[in-house]
Subunit: 336 residues, 2 copies
């Protein structure tokens, strides 16, 4: 079913640990499963090698571009130098109105730089920020912002992140009045490093500000819907969480396989656990979004497989139809 | 059995969410179960109310002191003002040679301030740091340093933390040549905020330095034995890990109790899981240690129960018998 307002996403086919195979598979699945048209950017021969039967289905186009930015390329320099890189062309497509959103699972810095350089920043936003949904089983996710875009952040930028996070929590998860917390090393006022103390004073005047929140408030409902931090700290928090989840999950699976009796019992337990654990699956909660640029840019994780691409496309569609960029523009202008 | 070199630990009976009941119970268990004498600091009537039969067993003394620093007191000011506070008197006991180590589960800032003011800093150490063992199932723990003592850190201080972490990893976990990683937002050289980039250059010359490590390297063996960071970031990493473990553990237990069949299967699985999950139990891995002061100071978590106190006493004993403070002194002097 094709609706009148079907959007088009520009997908960087060459970015990610499993590119182009999984990205192409995800793009095809996107066109087949959700009402989104796809433009795939990358080397046409590499892309077509992963299209079953060698014929593109309806709703999928390939745009040939010859350069590829690797995971270890220096992002900004690579984006400036490689004007025909898949991720750069995808960003350009959004700027030129050929697509409503871009998706990349490649070098995050390059995706950011491409989005910044090609789309430009929203007026009033000094630096972009990555918003990531942190899963909270049984509740809506929390938004961690910035999860890695801007590592040396000025206090005012964190205030902008808070505003953007608030808009995003509203649009993505329908939270009417999102509670904004400043990620710090204690919840009492006065906790935090110099940056946090300055930001705390600035955030006082912001609607929804609930004060300092801690790492221990992540993944449990109640304290805050949006966790504001700089990109360095946000990256550490997010990866520490991933690490802990992986460690405990490994321990659980090892235990379920540790004795004959356990293996028998696990025939009941394992399917239930795998089902419940979907709450944590980044392929299902959807990718990170770069906020602050004049277009929708979804950053999927490096190990993205086809379902992650479909999920990213869903997020892209949500952001486009909800008018996230427009709402960010208005909010930031309102706040002065 | 009492050995000739039995050490004495000074325990702050009034600190912690379950003080004094659990702290006193832990102190009594320490004297009974491990070869450590105990001096309990706090209000004598509050302590004695939790001593079964009202008679102190051998190896346990109570030192009456009347002031108590609360969890939300401003640490440095409280320590200066309340000279008769239990945590201050415990630190003083170490300085005066009445005990070889102190333990507190109370206000962490106050325990630090008391240790700093009463014991003083090791020459050559600018700021103390908290070293926390991060559990790695199937391997020795990793040392996270600083986990929260010094939030606005100068680059040189992180180099001192690295040196202290290396000594501590050697002494506590018998790692001959501990690998030192700088916690950053990517493993490539050049990643990190301004602080990290400066520290990276300084650490180059340090023995055992393996470069940047990420949050995702925590809790898995291989990359580094010591994770060096500032106290702000360390706190966020540690609490994010705790949060993730709690979230997933809750989900697992809920699932095991979700259906009749699951409950039946869990009679096999649950004991195995609880046994395996002890790898993560802070009551068993032992408390955090404040490094850089002229005495052993073990900081137990705020929710410490009696077993956590016993565990902290074990850590204190290990640190004393291994001569951690002396070894730190020598290393720091050697390094110039």
């Amino acid at each position: 079913m094709v609706s009148a307002d079907r959007i088009t996403v520009a997908i960087d086919a060459m970015g990610g640990d499993h590119a182009p195979a999984e990205i192409v598979a995800g793009a095809l699945a996107t066109a087949a499963e959700i009402d989104v048209a796809v433009r795939l950017y990358g080397r046409v021969e590499d892309i077509m090698a992963h299209v079953p039967g060698g014929t593109l289905p309806a709703g999928v186009e390939v745009v040939d571009c010859r350069e590829v930015i690797a995971m270890d390329d220096e992002p900004a320099a690579a984006v400036r130098r490689m004007k025909d890189a898949s991720v750069v062309r995808a960003a350009q497509a959004v700027r030129d109105g050929e697509a409503e959103a871009m998706i990349s699972a490649g070098n995050t810095g390059a995706a950011m730089a491409a989005a910044l350089l090609r789309m430009g920043r929203i007026r009033g936003i000094s630096r972009p920020a990555i918003a990531v949904p942190v899963p909270v089983p049984g509740s809506h996710p929390q938004i961690l912002i910035d999860a890695g875009a801007t590592v040396d952040a000025a206090p005012e930028w964190l205030v902008q992140f808070a505003r953007m996070g608030r808009v995003y929590a509203r649009v993505r998860f329908g939270i009417d009045e999102p509670a904004i917390g400043l990620l710090s090393n204690g919840e009492e006022e006065g906790k935090g490093d110099t940056l946090r103390k300055t930001v705390f004073e600035l955030l006082r005047k912001e609607p929804g500000f609930v004060g300092n929140v801690e790492g221990s408030d992540l993944m449990r409902p109640g304290r805050a819907d949006v966790f504001v931090t700089d990109g360095f700290t946000g990256n550490i928090a997010l990866k520490s969480i991933e690490s802990a989840l992986r460690s405990l999950a490994t321990l659980v699976f090892t235990t379920l396989d540790s004795t004959e009796e356990a293996r028998e019992a696990s025939t009941v337990i394992l399917p239930l656990l795998l089902d419940a654990a979907q709450a944590y699956d980044p392929d299902l909660t959807g990718g990170a979004v770069l906020l602050g640029v004049k277009g929708v840019c979804v950053i999927s994780h490096g190990s993205s497989t086809a379902p992650a691409v479909v999920s990213a496309a869903r997020v892209a569609r949500e952001c486009v139809t909800a008018g996230v960029v427009q709402q960010l523009r208005e909010t930031v202008t309102d706040a002065g």
